[in-house]
């Protein structure tokens, strides 16, 4: 495999391998919390922040604890516990030292533990055998890509609030169709860079 520059991975994670449009990760909160732009932006920031921290810590745990002890098969449990612990810790630290940020992100933080994107990024970086720098590029890129998707969707949903939609399509149905159209648009980026 050619060693990819971390910056290229960063770009690819935003555009061509977008968490939502290419990997379908983090769909649950994506559909639930995309009614208003400010809330979507808040959640997006929280996800990006947590992604960057968890992937670094999970990378270190996996390479320096699990691999030497040959306990790779335990990675699911270890990752989910470390993600839950980091989110909890982050909540306490933010509350103590950065109350403004805490109140901005507050309600979203606990939600993040069960966001598939967080665990997904950790698992992807293990499967693709990224180096440390590549993992950082990948996780931050994924977070920004996810934010981009959810904010764009929230913007579109605000616009169609009063549009006449077929009864059965209201809510999740129309959201999925919009997402499909957005995914089609993102397919256009696929010529730029490609990571498998």
């Amino acid at each position: 495999m050619i060693e990819l520059n971390p910056f290229i991975i960063f770009l690819a994670a935003i555009f061509t391998n977008n968490m939502i449009f290419a990997n379908f990760l983090g769909m649950c909160s994506y559909i639930a919390v995309s009614n208003e732009i400010p809330t979507a932006l808040g959640l997006g920031q929280a996800v990006t922040f947590v992604l960057a921290i968890t992937s670094v810590i999970n990378y270190l745990i996996y390479d320096y604890i699990l691999v030497p002890l040959q306990l790779e098969y335990l990675r699911f449990i270890v990752f989910i516990v470390s993600i839950a612990a980091i989110v909890q810790l982050l909540e306490m630290v933010l509350e103590r030292y950065l109350p403004n940020l805490y109140y901005a992100l507050g309600i979203f933080l606990p939600l993040i533990t069960v966001n598939c994107a967080i665990l997904g990024v950790s698992l992807f970086m293990i499967i693709r055998e990224y180096t440390f720098m590549q993992s950082i590029g990948f996780s931050i890129g994924s977070g920004i890509g996810w934010t981009l998707a959810i904010v764009a969707l929230a913007g579109i949903r605000q616009r169609i609030k009063n549009a006449p939609i077929p009864k059965g399509l209201e809510g999740p149905g129309i959201t999925l169709i919009i997402t499909g159209l957005m995914a089609l648009a993102f397919v256009g980026f696929s010529g730029i860079v490609q990571i498998q």
Binding site: N23, F24, I80, C116, G120, K167, L176, L184
Partner: protein, 205 residues
């Protein structure tokens, strides 16, 4: 356990409260693996196994789990079963394990399992919880297979890897790409909503 009860659990899991089109849960992994029917089937079986057994275990120890740390315990139980599925796939179906990639691990964060644990297993006896888990898993698998059926048939001209449509068929490349998954799921939600609404109207009459 009354027979009626079993029937009701399955009807809820498969149709009325179907996790995918009824409650919009677990679509993260539902969409990613539906490009081939075989992938969807294995993924569905794995999920049925995990949902059923984790609901069973959670219900079994529900009286002994302290309320405020129950989420953590549920996640740990679920991860343990997911690890079993992962090891099994690696040992017996290595090809499949590679194709599903991280999505096997992502069963842990699949909201269906936590949802069933919270909504049902927390309050009901073990055997019924097991059935409830299996029913929800089945509902999920069926939707997966429906999506995969259209995507594989139109995208490759095959079903379960067997060629159905001959050489005359030009595969629709878009069907194997992500956007098609969103569109097909949206259409399924649309159709089921309409059928449900029609039934409700008839009942109201």
């Amino acid at each position: 356990m009354a027979k009626n009860n079993v029937k009701k659990i399955f009807r809820m899991g498969l149709w009325e409260d179907n996790p995918v089109f009824g409650q919009i849960l677990g679509i993260c992994s539902a969409l990613a693996v539906t490009n081939l029917m075989m992938n969807s089937l294995i993924m569905g079986l794995g999920l049925i196994f995990v949902t059923g057994l984790s609901s069973f275990t959670i219900s079994l120890i529900r009286q002994y789990t302290p309320k405020h740390i129950r989420m953590m315990i549920q996640v740990l139980i679920i991860s343990a079963y997911v690890i079993i599925v992962d090891i099994f796939l690696k040992a017996y179906l290595p090809e499949m394990s590679k194709a599903l990639g991280p999505y096997v691990g992502l069963i842990i964060t699949n909201c269906i399992i936590m949802g069933r644990a919270e909504a049902f297993a927390q309050k009901n006896p073990p055997l019924e919880s097991l059935l409830d888990g299996v029913a929800s898993g089945l509902g999920y698998t069926i939707v997966l297979l429906i999506i995969a059926f259209f995507r594989e048939l139109l995208g490759f001209g095959t079903i379960f890897g067997i060629e159905v449509l001959g050489d005359w068929w030009t595969p629709w490349t878009i069907m194997i790409m992500p956007p098609a998954a969103f569109f097909i799921l949206a259409i399924i939600i649309w159709i089921t909503h309409n059928i449900k609404e029609k039934n409700e109207r008839e009942v109201a009459k």
